[in-house]
């Protein structure tokens, strides 16, 4: 079947099989930042934004993306670099395999949450597993990212 959707700001017409997942389609289209860490929707590595909402692309039918706005890390390079610099400053990217999914969800969280209290942040990101970092470095990075600019007025 034919679908039409916006991928990272570009309108795409794409032939997809009826049961293809968005994950497969995105990798097929060269969005290699999108990773798969499980088949059971537990790891969060395949997180992308569909109409601004963080979704697990491994369980999202490509057919359902018809008419949607899809953003992967390839389409959020500026944000990735910005948040990524906080992650790298902690050394918390480690192997980097879970970073793209985490960053996509951090971007969604930044838009959605009113309060960035630690418990809210941890709960929002609980669906992003990481086996390298023990999460503490990621948390330090997220905190400093979210509070960036807070001290700007001081100087």
């Amino acid at each position: 079947m034919q679908i039409e959707f916006t991928l990272n700001g570009r309108l795409i017409y794409e032939e997809t099989s009826d049961d293809e997942t968005l994950f497969h389609l995105l990798r097929r289209k060269g969005c290699y930042s999108v990773k798969c860490g499980c088949e059971t929707e537990n790891c969060g590595l395949c997180t992308v934004l569909v109409n601004g909402v963080s979704r697990l692309s491994c369980s999202y039918l490509a057919a359902r993306a018809d008419g949607c706005d899809v953003v992967t890390l390839e389409g959020a390079q500026k944000e990735a670099e910005e948040f990524g610099s906080f992650l790298a400053a902690e050394g918390a990217e480690q192997c980097g395999f879970c970073s793209p999914g985490l960053i996509m969800n951090v971007l969604a969280m930044e838009k959605e949450l009113d309060s960035y209290e630690e418990e809210n942040v941890k709960e929002y990101l609980a669906g992003n597993l990481c086996r390298c970092s023990g999460y503490m470095g990621q948390l330090r990075a997220v905190k400093s990212y979210l509070s960036r600019g807070e001290n700007r007025n001081e100087c």
Partner: protein, 760 residues
């Protein structure tokens, strides 16, 4: 060479950080050619069976199927998938495909086709006749069982590790120093207990994967997510029965390893497909396969006897370990050793010790290497026993350790007689005690709401490289404009060794980090390195870097003397120029780099290997604070404090992340991650739905500090950090729970139900 630290001991960012955080295609599957054949393995549904007929006729007719291989199509030459230095201690007990199935998930056939759909379809059409045999699933009954897992005649053990396939023994052995029984009889207090740890999965986010193709020279090129690039080359040569010269192995960025990728779990399958078809071929393990057919931690049951006199001074320790290597013997003979060698030497006082072990084959998934490598299991047992002993004596658990812990300068009879040149364990304990406010909280605080908080403690050690075995090599080149290329054979698996080794080089060469270009592992290019395992990378490869840099500096001075037409011993090299303090002559490194590109007979290249006769242990202390619900047994980790002595921290940020990450894995092992089998031998925790990695809500608050000693045999005083960090959570958390509610759980993971039963 006397250089001061400029980038060493600073938290520079990883060289690959930007590529990783912006999601660049740098991992195995991102790089695989689009026309790769898709390779999958048809897996045995039976724990123990013999294959009769395999009917592949229908499957072969599926559109897009290119090749289906069975046991009749592979070399009948046994090998091991363990990534270890040759001759491997692990027995040669594998074929690429075997007629005998030894666990649920064992490889019955290899299917390769143009698309995943075609391969999946073909797999459903293959008919395998299995003669189902009685499995051996209980590792306590495996030794001398009437059912043999490896009855085959061409099974072979290359090293004297006490292996005997006619007894289901992968290894056995032991040692005794002093008279343990006699001393224990004289003790005022003795604890004898049995502890049980499970076959935890490393569960790195990137599953096992590899692709292969033939290059312009007709050689097999293998791109693999591996920690042991050079061992992959040798193992493929053995498995495929072809010369090593026909194989090249390349490691791209890898998505975590933790020891899992120290076993060649997946590489043989695409390799044989490429050899048979001439086509590029790739295999990507599903999480399901990574759970059921991979290389997890060895399940161990450890009996500890430990005794003390009336003052709490330890007199003797007796450790017996039964280790379950599963269907194959990868890392079986070696992991077990650490269960004694990295636990008993934590204490200086015992006048006698005994350590004995058996490693048995069963029809469970084969085990392998997982961070800690047997030390984790042994330390859970011994540290738990020490805590139980303290309870028996009525002594504070920190106090008993202060009285008995190993100290700098000690000779360690249970650690190959090595002398301890660097040890800050006492300082680690003192600092951890402060951070935890131990004296205020020990042993427990009743919160008055049905919950009790308890604190627990454990110590740990590991090694730094395998003494007298591991070899690390690096090559260093000076290029035009005066930048360097550092070629290493160690595998950066996300830990950052490409960066930390460059930090060492940059200080040795007195240049900016950007002046060092690091080339990751490629067996055609990199010098030989046994690989990134056994806590060896910084300690061993770091020293090879130091050596190579020394040689390079010498060669730069030679060139400087030649170009400046003066005596070498009048010259100095300060990182950016060769100059003559007395005469004022000088030439910049940039000019030297450019000049050697023209009319030159001496390449500015330096290479060095390093091996170590000793394996200096890093040390650490871990303290846990938990809150236990008295009614339900539910335990929540509140706080985890760790103080580590890894010698000099080359990169404090990366050392901290290593520690936090290892602790989180250890917390998973302690509280959440279970591996169980049905009575038919099917592994139950076969997905992330059932195998529960800790999420960020499950690790409490982790606080890490360093108390550095200085290891004279390591680069800039460094020891290792990668493995030790996983060892303390299990005993410390178990102890905190016992302190809180008196429930001593000796089998991991410590679930709420187990705690509840002990409270009851």
């Amino acid at each position: 060479m006397n250089v001061k630290m400029r980038t060493v001991n600073t938290s520079v960012q990883k060289k690959d950080a930007k590529a990783l955080v912006t999601g660049k295609p740098v991992f195995t599957d991102d790089l695989a050619p689009g026309d790769c054949l898709i390779v999958k393995v048809l897996r045995s549904p039976h724990a123990h069976a013999l294959i009769g007929q395999i009917d592949t006729e229908k499957a072969n007719k599926v559109d897009g199927i290119v090749c289906i291989l069975t046991y009749q199509d592979v070399p009948n030459k046994r090998f091991t998938m363990a990534g270890q230095t040759y001759p491997e201690p692990s027995p040669y007990d594998r074929l690429i495909l075997d007629q005998r199935m030894r666990f649920v998930g064992d490889a019955a056939a290899i299917v390769a086709g143009e698309t995943e759909e075609a391969v999946d379809h073909a797999m459903r059409l293959i008919k395998v006749d299995y003669e189902v045999l009685e499995p051996v699933l209980d590792f306590r009954k495996a030794k001398d069982h009437k059912v043999l897992i490896h009855p085959e005649d061409n099974w072979e053990s290359l090293c004297p590790v006490g292996a005997d396939n006619r007894r289901n023994l992968c290894a056995c052995g032991g040692e005794e120093h002093g008279d343990v029984n006699e001393l224990l009889e004289q003790c005022d207090y003795v604890v004898e207990q049995v502890y049980h740890t499970k076959a935890n999965q490393q569960a790195m986010m990137e599953t096992f994967r590899a692709y292969s193709y033939l290059d312009a020279y007709g050689r097999l090129n293998m791109v693999a997510s591996t920690q042991v690039t050079f061992h992959v080359r040798r193992i493929l040569a053995h498995a495929l029965d072809i010369p090593k010269s026909r194989i090249r192995v390349i490691k791209p960025r890898i998505g975590g390893g933790f020891g899992a990728k120290q076993t060649v779990v997946a590489e043989v399958y695409p390799a044989i497909v490429t050899m048979k078809t001439g086509r590029a071929a790739k295999i990507i393990y599903s999480r399901y396969e990574s759970q059921i057919a991979s290389s997890p931690r060895h399940e161990m049951e450890i009996r500890v006897r430990v005794g003390a006199d009336k003052n709490g001074i330890l007199q003797a320790i007796d450790v017996y370990t039964l280790s379950n290597t599963g269907a194959y013997g990868e890392h079986g003979p070696t992991t077990v050793g650490l269960s004694g060698h990295k636990s008993i030497p934590l204490y200086r006082t015992p006048r006698a010790f005994r350590f004995a072990y058996d490693v048995v084959y069963t029809n469970c998934m084969s085990a392998g290497a997982y961070r800690g490598y047997g030390a984790t299991q042994g330390i859970f047992a011994v540290e738990s026993a020490i805590n139980e002993l303290a309870e028996k004596i009525g002594m504070d658990k920190v106090k008993i350790r202060e009285l008995n812990m190993v100290r700098e300068g000690d000779i360690m009879p249970a650690y190959y007689g090595e002398t301890l040149n660097s040890c800050a364990l006492d300082r680690c304990m003192a600092r951890a005690k402060e951070m935890m406010e131990w004296d205020r909280k020990y042993p427990s605080v009743d919160m008055g709401n049905g919950k009790v908080r308890g604190v627990g403690v454990a110590m740990a050690m590991q090694g730094s490289a395998i003494s007298g075995v591991d070899v690390a090599s690096v090559e260093l080149r000076l290029n035009d404009d005066g930048f360097y290329t550092l070629m290493i054979g160690a595998s950066d698996m996300g830990t950052g060794c490409d960066t930390t080794l460059a930090q060492v080089a940059s200080d040795c060469l007195e240049c900016d980090l950007d002046q060092i270009v690091v080339h990751g592992t490629d067996t055609d290019v990199s010098p030989y390195d046994s690989g990134s395992y056994a806590s060896s990378t910084m300690y061993l490869t770091g020293m090879a870097v130091v050596k190579a840099c020394g040689e390079m500096r010498d060669k730069i001075l030679d060139k400087g003397a030649e170009y400046l037409s003066c005596e070498k011993d009048t010259l100095e090299f300060d990182g950016s120029r060769v100059w003559q303090p007395a005469g004022g002559l000088e030439i910049s490194l940039k000019d030297i780099g450019n000049k050697v590109m023209c009319s030159n007979n001496n390449m500015l290249s330096a290479g060095a290997s390093h091996t170590s006769p000793v394996s200096p242990p890093p040390f650490m202390v871990g303290m846990a604070e938990v809150e236990v619900d008295k009614e339900t047994g539910e335990a929540e980790l509140i706080d985890y404090v760790a103080v580590v002595d890894c010698g000099t921290t080359i990169n404090p940020n990366l050392a901290r992340i290593q520690t936090e990450g290892g602790l989180a894995q250890g917390i998973g092992m302690a509280l959440y991650e279970d591996i169980t089998y049905t009575d038919k031998g099917q592994m139950i925790q076969n997905s992330f739905m059932q195998y529960k990695l800790p999420s960020r809500l499950d690790v409490g608050n982790i606080r890490v500090e360093f108390e550095s000693s200085y290891e004279p045999t390591g680069p800039f005083g460094a020891k290792s950090i990668g493995e030790i960090v996983i060892n303390t959570p299990s005993p410390a958390i178990a102890d905190a729970i016992a302190s809180a509610v008196g429930a001593r759980v000796r089998e991991l993971p410590i679930t709420a139900e187990k705690v509840y039963r002990e409270i009851k």
